[in-house]
Subunit: 194 residues, 2 copies
Amino acid sequence: MKIFDDFLLRFVAYDQIAFEAFKALLSKEMLQIPKKDFIFKDGDKIDQLYFIVEGDLRGFYINDKGEEITSDILFAPLLFTDNYAYTNKITTRLNLQTLTTVSLYTIKLTELEIMITEYQTINSFFRLYFSFLFNVNNQRRLSYIYETSEERYLNLIKQHPKVIENIPQHYIASYLGIQPETLSRIRKKIMKNN
Amino acid sequence: MKIFDDFLLRFVAYDQIAFEAFKALLSKEMLQIPKKDFIFKDGDKIDQLYFIVEGDLRGFYINDKGEEITSDILFAPLLFTDNYAYTNKITTRLNLQTLTTVSLYTIKLTELEIMITEYQTINSFFRLYFSFLFNVNNQRRLSYIYETSEERYLNLIKQHPKVIENIPQHYIASYLGIQPETLSRIRKKIMKNN
């Protein structure tokens, strides 16, 4: 499966035996999840990693006022799970929802843990992948110090031009930590300047 | 060095050969950095990892208004560097300042990278350490969704009781993303209730 190999190759050099062993852990069937469905929900136990082949998703939390707060906007291809819930053996508080039809494979995390210790290329892959995720997350946290809402929005659409096409604006506003009206003003200003 | 072994043992099982190889990369001398000095500053090239043996530090950024924003409050023992600047080969924007006298060893990152590929226990250590850092960072980001300023402050002093003794209050307020006056109100309320 070329898309999976290509994903691994973003972090490690080709290693046929290790890559094949990793691919052997993918679910036999590629699953099709309809738009607006859930991969997992607040309260679920996390025991799988998801390789998202195609489609867009969002992660959201419910705050104590009962409001949905979009914490993640995700685009295929990617590997995703709630790593915090899994490593701490607690149920997740995250809701992972499809925004389009999504194609994915599942990987059992208990099987993956064994394989990581057997194939050092996979061990390195996850070390480098976690380093990458840590950096992305840290930069995102720091963007609230450095950048204005407008700069954060411009960076988001620069990195992910599909955002404008497919993602409802109120999810983007929530993700940027601003009111929908503020996002609407920013978009009008940008369109006027172009 | 027991403190270094103990730190590694929080993430991986004992492996004498790998642990000794890792310790051989530590600078020969343990350095003593005076209070209010800098480990590195905005604009510096990052080529070392720091093993902080004793002391407290803070990381801060300068925003576009010229204000210091405290992004990290750090307590020994820990391993620290600006991983984003190092992996992206850019100069850092972070200022890492000592809040007390700090004792530390330095590790050259180019030497560490070679060693990681030779000792799989160290490869695993960094995979698990990055997973841990990713989780800590992600939870901190999400605490701004879940929690009030008061809850964030209570969690901080629960996890790090030394915070109240050693860290100037305006750094803590900045770290929590609130005004010093708000932190002062929260502290008075908590003292009144105890």
